[in-house]
Symmetry: C2
Subunit: 253 residues, 2 copies
DNA sequence: TTCCATTGAATGGGTGAACCATTTAATAAT
DNA sequence: ATTATTAAATGGTTCACCCATTCAATGGAA
């Protein structure tokens, strides 16, 4: 006989769960506003402090957005798909997953994404990728190496979105975001840059446009593996801590 | 010129970030204990309540575990890979992703997992899957339909783990967990059960053992699509709200 | 001595009242 | 009509206090 340990039900857990429940039931929807803290606390029969702990947790989970001032309050947010990135980052920080596993998963996930994109990508996806390659070209010629990394991040994001499946996009972004931190750290420290990057991108895009799965996946895999080798040449800049602690452009600071 | 809106830095955000930073830097590791709330609050120069909001958020994020009593405190947890499941669930609740996208992603991700498992699965993985099929058989013969669903959930978990890649496992579980809620709701309401389930599983396992990628992926895809069709037959039980609000066996209540 | 009950200290869980800071709308002054 | 002022609503923060749980130290009984 096995007894699972009972965890003391704490007020804030109960509150979080109830709000999530209302969400799941569709009673609460993005855009809705919860009652003011003082009022809600009274309704729930808890102190304002405890209620705030719950609201804070939900805010960190990307479910709520708290705004100050009259007309402020706790609003249900649109879902923030980047939450998954944070989870991935936390797992890496905590040592629950390894960089190797992440890289391997990324290569395979992107392989899948390419297959799906070959089937589902539409004209405007091609155009967005084309425009991204243009920007990458510009950044390359102007020597803005870190901007070029940012372009790469965006490239994979656009590629993932071209599958037309937001779940796939979310998954892809979560494995790509961390990977890009390593690339960023590497480029920032060594000034290394993938040679003929935009050529490779254009070749790939052509295969994608032709919906040539075999060619597209082959080109992408070759590229990803070459980047992987570049990163692995210098274990120092592959340091988990360097990459994770690195301040990113666009990071909320 | 674009000005990104500045978000007021709030004390608890700063605290969360600092602790995450210490984690990323490797200064804090799983098992470590933070100073007592009263002491840490003083060190950080904030009130205990604010510190608690930060600790709560980190606890909900799966990073901390708070224990009461002398010898209690805030401990850094081992990473909890199930956090990703919650994110997926929240995104669904908030309408940021659709059930259709989730199902499609799941079918494709599992296809990938099967490919990887064909290459990486080891003897003990096969044995674990075999044991799972035995349990499924037992549950089937004893008419424990909901236990059988639980077995299915575990089957995909074991399969994902047999890739030897925890990132892939995490991703797979996150798309499978929600899916299983729908299956659970369907089975609970209609008593429907996939016919010849364990036969199909055994066939699949044979292909996996033989490392026959083509056969394994084909068998799996056929099965997944048939389950999909079963679920879609009855849009009522596919209701998002029903499935998400459904109490699960093993759910922390 | 050994064992069990009691006690006390440490720590998280929770409360209530108060005040600060920001935002917006209503109001007053120009 | 426009601009400056004011007031109210709301989240942000602090303080002081008490409760509940846990565990180690203490002490008495067998």
């Amino acid at each position: 006989m096995i007894f699972r340990p009972i965890r003391t039900r704490r007020a804030f857990e109960e509150i979080c769960e109830r709000i999530r429940e209302q969400l799941a039931l569709g009673v609460l929807k993005p855009g809705d506003k919860l009652p003011p803290e003082r009022e809600l606390a009274q309704q729930l029969g808890v102190s304002r402090n405890v209620l705030r702990e719950a609201l804070r947790s939900l805010e960190m989970a990307g479910i709520l957005r708290l705004l100050k001032g009259v007309k402020g309050g706790a609003f249900i947010r649109e879902g923030d798909t980047s939450r998954m990135n944070e989870v991935m980052r936390d797992m890496l920080s905590l040592g629950s997953i390894s960089v190797r596993e992440l890289s391997e998963a990324r290569i395979n996930v992107i392989d899948l994404v390419v297959r799906l994109a070959c089937v589902s990508a539409r004209q405007r996806d091609f155009e967005a990728l084309e425009a991204n390659i243009e920007r990458t070209d510009l950044a390359t010629h102007e020597g803005r190496l870190l901007d070029r990394v940012e372009c790469s991040r965006e490239f994979y994001k656009l590629l993932a979105e071209s599958t037309g499946n937001k779940v796939m996009a979310m998954i892809t972004n979560s494995v790509t975001e961390i990977h890009m931190r390593f690339v960023y750290a590497k480029v920032a420290s060594s000034g290394a840059a993938t040679p003929r990057l935009t050529d490779k991108r254009r070749q790939f895009l052509s295969a994608l446009r032709a919906r040539d799965v075999a060619a597209a996946t082959r080109l992408m895999r070759i590229h990803l593996e070459s980047v992987q080798r570049m990163l692995e040449l210098d274990p120092g800049s592959m340091s988990l801590h360097v990459a994770l602690a690195e301040v990113q452009p666009g990071a909320r600071r």
